[in-house]
Amino acid sequence: MNKLIPMWGMSAEIQWVIFIILCILVASSVAWFILGKLKPSKLATELQVRTRSWWVMCACFIVTTLVHPLVTLLGLMYLSYALLREMYPLLNLDARERNTVLVCYATVPIQYALAYFGMETLFLAFIPVFMFVFIPFLLVVRGETEGIVRSISLMPYSLIAWVYGMSHLALLFQLPEYPGFTAGPQGLLLYLIFLVGMNDVLQFAWGKTLGKRPVLPTVSPNKTWEGLIGGVLSITLIAVAMRFLTPLNIWQAALTGFVTAVAGFMGDAIASGMKRDIGIKNSGHAIPGHGGYLDRLDGFSAAAAPFFHLIFFFCYH
């Protein structure tokens, strides 16, 4: 693979993936602009807003990924923090549970520090083993047991879902050298971001064009079988086509793409179910056209840990 810009120190694979992302963004911006001019509709305006947000998100992702591993880590850490911060107000926690919430926030920097210093075993155990016991105990030690089952379930869940999952992306930087693989952890990270991002977009696109039969009519009426199957198949193909960013062979890439797409869908569905139970449409408003961090990153954080473990199993095992 040749570099697009020979002067630039970035590896050829990364240059290509940035080029592909830019092409997609430019193409969709132009397409929705023309659609809006020809047939002004609510959908066209929404697509324009969403695409504009994708520009910002892609810029943030690419810049934080490429500047320095520490910047990437801090960026991911902020995302975990923002996800927790967006979830807690929705849960109607008791004012006396504020101290426990503070401990939950404090696990974020600890978990990412464990990833940064490469303490893999402790990293894998910290939240599901230690915090899993410690946080319910903190709730109990208060001495009031009313409504405590709910908090005991929710707080460790929130840590697993939004901190543990996302932090696996920081652990990609700890993978050892793999002979003949030059894209590095940045390549793997952009590969996952590309797959999950495209997964959301393509499931939406397939669902809007062909969608008839809803998958989960009572949870999220907009998700259809057509969208799900179309999205998963396209992502599997895209994963194979983009495998230059990974050390995977063709079958491993196909399986990784398939698992990532399915996990992304599941994460999305779980978040939809929670939001429906709480009675809200979006969890926040940070990203225009998409909702909050939680609405956008539900798929990412569900797909991150399975993605990491598949890569590790295939290539570094």
């Binding site: 911060r85 004012a95 919430v101 926040g284």
Partner: protein, 210 residues
Amino acid sequence: MLIFLYKFFWRAVLGVVIGLRYLGVKSDVPDGPVIYIANHNSHLDAISMMTVVPRHRLHLTHSVAAQDFFGNSFFRKWSMENLVNAVLISRKKGANDVDPIEFLDALLRAGRSLILFPEGTRGVPGSMGDFKRGVGHLASRHPGIPVIPIYLDGLYRNLPKGRAMIVPFGGNLIMGEPMIFSDEDVDQITSQTQKAIETMAQQLRDSNRI
């Protein structure tokens, strides 16, 4: 000092750490004295409102705080007067006190802006009490001065009454259109401003319902 504190430090804390979302904040607010009013549940309320005051008006904007709460310790008094740029008024009628309305009236005449919490207290978390008539008195005496209603949502979760520790929980700050009164009487102004903030609260709730 105030500019650094509110335009940089608190803006960063509220925006990045607490995750406060600013809605409808316009930069072309009317120059000159303004009365900002909001619902009141937390000490963060006045701070978050100071961050949306235009930079050149910051040192001319006073939040109005209760003498009986903030005046009773030296530290509170000093920090309110120097860090929040607040003026303290008494909530109870005393014999030798200046009438608070006269005092605030004089400030407005001197070209100062005010941040008022017409509920008069932080009240019950997450709910809004009835407005006291102070804002009506002030606005009816100064027909030209715009009243800007601000709805603060969720700040009481970050710093509730009786707590010292800020725990980030997000929130919304919604600035409404300036209201200019001409010949409405005190009660009309009071109820209209209360209505304006209640409507903003309702719209925020409705906008995110399934």
